[in-house]
Amino acid sequence: MQTDMTSRKLERTLNLLAELLNAESPKSAAELKTRVGMYPEDKAAFRRTFDRDKNALRDMGVPLEIVPVPGTNPPVDGYIINKSDYYLADLNLSPAELRALNLASSSVEVLDGLSETEAIRKLGGYEENTASNVIQFPNSDDEKLSKLFDSITHRRTVDFVYGDKNRTLEPWRLEFTTGRWYLTGNNAPEMKVKTFRVDKISDLIPNDNAGEYDIPDNPPSVNLKPWSYGEGEGIETTIRIDKNLLAWARTSLDTEIEIDENGSGLAKVDVNNKEVFFARMALLLDHAEIIDPLEMRNEYLKHMSRFTEVPDGST
């Protein structure tokens, strides 16, 4: 019985889709009822069933629009699917390319994240299961990320709240690095390039209008080196780092490290903000040392002397 009802609903929804995809002009609900021929006669029951079917199509991503039926007065709502918005462009994926996406799907696990299984089915389905998870992504707000992704796709400005401030941004780039998602774009009204941590964005509202701006060819990547923030040229600073902290320093300083003959490393960083740089140096404790320039070295020692020369009672 359950199977019969499921089959009937499936057949009816498919027939509704058949009407909409084969129609050249908007069709009213009454017309669709007649043409599909599987809806209840009772008006209220028809409405309920018709609404459920429309929602099922919309939930799958069918771009079902409501526009007035031409020539009706007073206007009657008509339903239409814009074919160019409905069909997936022919990606022409080779079997090997689809297998590669299959492998990515099974190898990368997103904790509590959106599933891509429907996407894979649209692209051609699942081949033999080839791998178990080898990379995990942290939990993230996928609904927010999808909205930002879509805003970039359609070049829509977005409004959101960040640090208690209302922002309007032309989003250019969505980027995951060092465990978090970042959004970079042109921040209105001063139109300055800014980067925001996505997990700190709230009340996100994408603008309805698409194609509002252009994205430059090479939008900047997120800069996770706060010591480099500031105007003008940074001071090139060389640090020697002990062997035991090299791996961590490489990600913490986000820079290449040249290993010398005794196993310690030399890193070069450009410093604009000394206070932030000294705070980062402090994380390396006595396992690192500023080598050059001398002024930076002396200033760091002066900074540390504030701790060694504190009056009694402090740390």
């Binding site: 499921t6 089959s7 499936l10 498919l14 995809l21 007649t34 099922a56 799958m60 991503g61 069918v62 997936l88 462009a89 990606l91 080779s94 090997a96 390319e97 996406l101 492998l103 990515a104 799907s105 990368v108 997103v110 429907e118 894979i120 089915r121 649209k122 389905g125 699942y126 990379i135 995990q136 942290p138 996928d142 999808s146 992704f149 879509d150 970039i152 796709t153 780039r173 969505l174 980027e175 690095t177 465990g179 035991n244 791996a247 961590w248 490489r250 990600t251 913490s252 705070a279 402090a282 994380l283 404790l285 006595d286 020692l301 540390m304 504030r306 701790f307 504190v310 402090s314 740390t315």
Partner: protein
Amino acid sequence: MGQLKATEKLERLLSMIPWIMDNDGPTMKMVAKRFGYPEDLLLNDLTKVLFMVGPYPHTPDTLIEVLVEDGRVWIGQADWLARPIRLTPEQGFSILRKAKAMDLIIGEEDGKELRSAIVKLEASLGQNRQTFGVDIPELRNNVWLAIDDAIEMQTQLEIDYYSYSKDQTSTRIVHPIQLLNRDHNQYLYAYCETASDYRLFRLDRILVAKSTSHGISVPEESLETFSDNGMWNLAELNNLITLKITTEDSWIVSTYPVERVVTTNDGFIEVDLYVTGIAWLKRLLLRLKPETQILKAPEHIPYDLARQAAQSIVDRYKV
């Protein structure tokens, strides 16, 4: 007969029909497996439901044609379903995220197909490598490769591990179980012979990882799978301290799990927080204002810890 809801069937059929039309009579078995559709249900829905679908007036020349013969299936007269529905933003985002993450670990040669698939996906989604990026720096080195290999081969690893909270490096034999992400960091979950227990090792603190030829052999009584329960149970550390900090350093309240926060009459803030190790506390204190005071601490934590830590740094520069 397996069960699927009508909406689940609809979603699978709309993806499956174009593929069947493109693949000249694939087997029912293959279609069922590829699109996650129980085979008995598939036969029923293709021959009894899809067969009845088409635009008005539902005459034979408008209805979809389905032919199932010798375990193979052909679909015709369904041009209007010859392409799947475009990807939703959620679907596009989730598949591209995984593909780009995979690209970080797949080799240059093995990754050719993945990279060309990414380019095609990006083009169809209005994205490019400049507008959507994924990077996990910990996966870009030999440590990750050695661990991944050891997990796959089920062999023990010798690792040099830097403990951030103790400021010590140790060499350990570990039996790798899995790689996982917690608190925005990548970890190796493994049985550690030194600790005779399971431990999490942060990937960017593993200095060296060497494969050994010994297979994983965790004592049976210790066998367990990873669980978040109690993973960050700081109270167990018994290292609660009270700090008196300036208002400029109030950021620590939102950055670390704190037990108590009180603003004092003289304009400072008192904070109770658990420390995971002395080295961790040294690093914290050296990022706070020098006026910071430790008001209360367990016996093994000196009250002038920041001064001692800063002195060690200054001493290094005297050599």
